[in-house]
Symmetry: none
């Protein structure tokens, strides 16, 4: 066990140390506790609370470097003239991320069911999104939505 690995797993060793210290502390308390008959509930409760907190802290420490990736789309550009995504229009129309995503797939000619499968969602969910999209774009059909979205440079 090298010093390096000890440093690397600092949290774990810190936890071990804390545990040891607490156990010693409790061992000392034990004699006092014996004076109070039937106080085991308090004793157990104290340990429970302490170690619950310790566990939470440990969990937090160990899961700290979590990759909070919120990458939504990755586009592979083959070749294109310059397309400038119209954020302003999206904001004005109050289109959410999901809605934009669905709209994009619509533009690719996918059916609602296909979109649902692609996004691991229910068909009903896609229908709901579709309806909202149509409402916001003030159109009736998906073809019109795609047309308008293209004109507004919301989708490619």
């Amino acid at each position: 066990m090298t010093l390096k690995s000890l440093v690397r797993n600092r949290s774990v060793f810190l936890y071990g140390a804390s545990l040891a210290v607490l156990l010693m502390f409790l061992k000392v308390l034990e004699w006092r506790m014996l004076l109070i008959s039937h106080a085991y509930e308090l004793y157990a409760g104290a340990i429970a609370i302490l170690f619950t907190g310790l566990g939470m802290w440990l969990a937090h420490k160990l899961t700290h470097p979590r990759p909070k990736t919120v990458i939504i789309e990755k586009e592979i550009f083959v070749k294109t003239d310059y397309f400038v995504f119209n954020h302003a229009e999206v904001a004005r129309l109050r289109l959410s991320n999901r809605e934009l995503e669905v709209l994009q797939l619509m533009g690719d000619g996918l059916s609602n069911l296909q979109i649902a499968d692609r996004l691991f969602l229910s068909l009903n969910t896609i229908k709901t999104h579709s309806s909202k999209i149509f409402g916001k774009l003030e159109v009736q059909r998906r073809t019109q939505a795609v047309e308008k979205a293209r004109k507004l440079s919301i989708i490619l």
Copy 2:
């Protein structure tokens, strides 16, 4: 304390319940432990381990579940500044004039009925044209047809 808040903080209450159950369990164990003199270390250790795990679980529950990473691969195709009508492709696909006309209107987001009215034709006729178009373009839906037609520079 309303039922609503109880539901909202389900994790917390679940933790409370677990704690209660475990304490009861330990209370029962207590009598067995008493048989073994000087086994408090084991007792405390067991509680410590149990509640450490519980704490970690709780922490995991309470921390925000990481937003799932959705990666969409989207191919973007060529789209030149000025539109050059692709006669060759139309010929290759054996698309008739009418079919091309209908396809164009489809691309404008019109419904079959609207196309029918526009061209002074029956709805059934448009449906027939549509079917033929889909067959020739090897697609299933109008949105796909429009997509493909655009890619091939058959329509604007």
